[in-house]
Amino acid sequence: MGLLDNESIPRRQMTLFFLIDKSGSMDGSKIGSVNDAIENVLPIIGEISDENPDAEIRVAALEFSTDTRWLYDEPKEGKDFIWQKVTAEGMTSLGEACRELNKKLSRSNGFMSSPSGCYAPAIILLSDGGPTDDFESGLAVLKNNSWFKSAIKIAIAIGDDADMEVLKQFTGSLEAVIKVHNIDALKKMIRIIAVTSSQIGSKSSSATDESKQKQVEEQITEAAKDVAGAESAAAPAPSKQDNYDEWD
């Protein structure tokens, strides 16, 4: 090997987790949109990773209903992740999903054992309802996990039946919960959140004392303003009875 020959610089791994509620109520266009949106965002994430000298971005996906299942048994690069369509049926075992995520947020036997080390992961939770199992004890386990503590955590609440309190508990703040009211908004927000979370580590920041979690929250809240049918759960939504047209 000549002295000018280079090897790629070692890159830390950033794992992007999708936690997908595939309970019975997600059946139909909701789960169809989730499938479609993730399938379409994977090549974009692959590209972000490929061009990125700072981080290698890998994707892991956990589907949960009555049971839980990882789509692959290791995080994959966006370009190698062949999306297997998720079908909806059963209950909403979010507590069990938390325990399962906790197992994988670990270096030994988990997903966090990259030889060049990792960045804190990003976790995107999608749900349209409330847990049907013991969510609290599952979340309690997860909340002791250092990887989870440092992770960027964003939730997408699909429709009005999503349990906002549960999603707030999972992400740690209401600002990290985005509410979507239609299929188009769901697709757009999946893409925006996945891309924003993947890029955050390799962008210049405007303040060193602002956490990546806050930066992602601000960016997606801002982006949600341009997506009809999406809003930050923390933003005040006008009541249907009130009309503020004259103030426009």
Partner: protein
């Protein structure tokens, strides 16, 4: 979010219209479009979210000041505030230039050490001129450079955060490239630019990050807290006297191979710049002019090995050894300047006299001639040669001077003796 479409027209402040041809790429802040400007193709950077008026004013100022050097893809025209945002026009990136990241990812590599040194020189020259005009870049990182691999020519992009030194752009910078004091919360300035510049130069020469060794590698998860420690409060150079953060075999292979091969003056420059003392004293960091001097001294010792044909740095001209084939090599001679500067000569070596990237001398082999190695004038001006007997001769561009001990060669204002 205000995206533009093909065919849209945006109005520039000078009254001209730019027509959108197509999207060229997008980043976090905005989209770059190919635009037609009265028949000329240019690039438009269009902000997705219009930054505030201060930012607009600053762009306006930079445009009227003009580019500090030809290294910059500088903003040339500003659009009016319209269509919910604004943008600026700059030159297009020419074909054959690749992002520095592509080099770090080993998708591209320099064609020669000569090109690598040219790239380093051009980067230093760019920031030298930028700082000289009272500006600071503020967000220097690996994403700002496009480099041509064969010539080492460099274009510096993303010049929209450039501000008069001392004025805050609001951008702190990118993790791993921010100076430790900026990681600690201080606003960026020309001194922090100089830290980031040294990091970029190190990565350009050695292909690894100067502060990522065993200690940083051992950290399982680079959280924000650890980032503040390893790139801020406890930053430690991989070749510091404190050996706790040395490069790791199998991971940091580029620097492990190249560090021992590169000349001592380069190693010393980085050891000093990344020492605890200088890291914590921003105003003592090396100025760009001095970096240019370091690069020039590397150039002076870079020759082509007559045995294996590869480029090599020669650290000891009394016993010159090729860093590739390991054999002793024959120097044809050297050019010696009054101040002690020595430029080593072998056939097929290119010589740079000054600190620009235009070659001045080609050392050419002339087999069978009485003087089998000669210096060809590849400048645009005549040289003057004085023989030992006092004869004066003018050497026109393209003409040659033999490498003969005792000849005195004047190139511009510099007077060399061939030894």
């Amino acid at each position: 979010m205000q995206e533009l479409k093909t065919g849209d027209k945006v109005n520039l402040t000078n009254g001209v219209q730019a027509k959108i041809v197509k999207e060229l790429g997008r980043g976090g802040q905005g989209i770059v479009y190919l635009v037609d400007l009265g028949g000329k193709q240019m690039a438009l950077k269009w902000y997705l979210k219009a930054p505030d008026n201060k930012f607009y004013k600053n762009l306006e100022e930079n445009i009227s000041k003009g580019s500090p050097s030809d290294a910059f893809l500088w903003p040339e025209y500003l659009t009016r505030k319209e269509k919910g945002s604004y943008g600026y026009i700059m030159k297009l990136r020419p074909q054959g230039y690749y992002e520095f990241g592509q080099y770090l990812l080993a998708r591209r590599q320099f064609g020669s050490f000569e090109a690598m040194l040219n790239a380093a020189m051009k980067i230093c020259e760019g920031f030298y001129k930028l700082h000289l005009s009272g500006l600071s870049y503020q967000d220097l990182n690996d994403g700002n450079f496009f480099i041509e691999p064969q010539t080492g020519d460099v274009l510096i992009c993303d010049n929209d955060n450039v501000m008069p030194d001392g004025r805050k752009s609001g951008i702190m910078g990118k993790a791993r490239y921010m100076a430790p004091e900026v990681v600690g919360g201080k606003a960026p300035d020309k001194y922090s630019d100089r830290f980031s510049l040294a990091v970029i130069l190190f990565m350009l020469f050695f292909g690894n990050h100067p502060f990522e060794g065993s200690r940083v590698l051992a950290c399982p998860c680079m959280t924000e807290t650890f980032e503040k420690k390893f790139y801020g409060s406890e930053i430690l150079f991989i070749y510091d006297d404190n050996k706790e953060n040395r490069p790791v075999r199998g991971v940091h292979n580029n620097v492990l191979r190249r560090w021992p091969a590169m000349p001592k003056q380069l190693q010393d420059a980085f050891k000093e710049q990344f020492s605890k003392e200088i890291l914590s004293a921003p105003d003592k960091r090396m100025i760009e002019k001095k970096w240019k001097g370091v690069i020039q001294s590397l150039r002076d010792t870079l020759v082509r090995c007559p045995k294996c044909g590869n480029e090599t740095f020669v650290s000891d001209s009394a016993a010159p050894v090729c860093m590739n084939c390991g054999k002793l090599l024959d120097l044809s001679g050297k050019l010696v300047l009054g101040n002690g500067r020595e430029i080593l000569l072998t056939p097929n070596t290119t010589v740079y006299i000054d600190d620009d990237n235009n070659p001045d001398i080609k050392v050419i082999p002339v087999p069978g001639d009485k003087y089998p190695v000669q210096l060809q004038n590849v400048t645009k001006k005549n040289w003057v040669v004085e023989t030992q007997s006092g004869k004066i001769k003018s050497i026109e561009p393209g003409a040659c001077v033999p490498v003969r001990t005792g000849l005195k060669l004047s190139i511009g204002t510099l007077k060399f003796e061939i030894q």
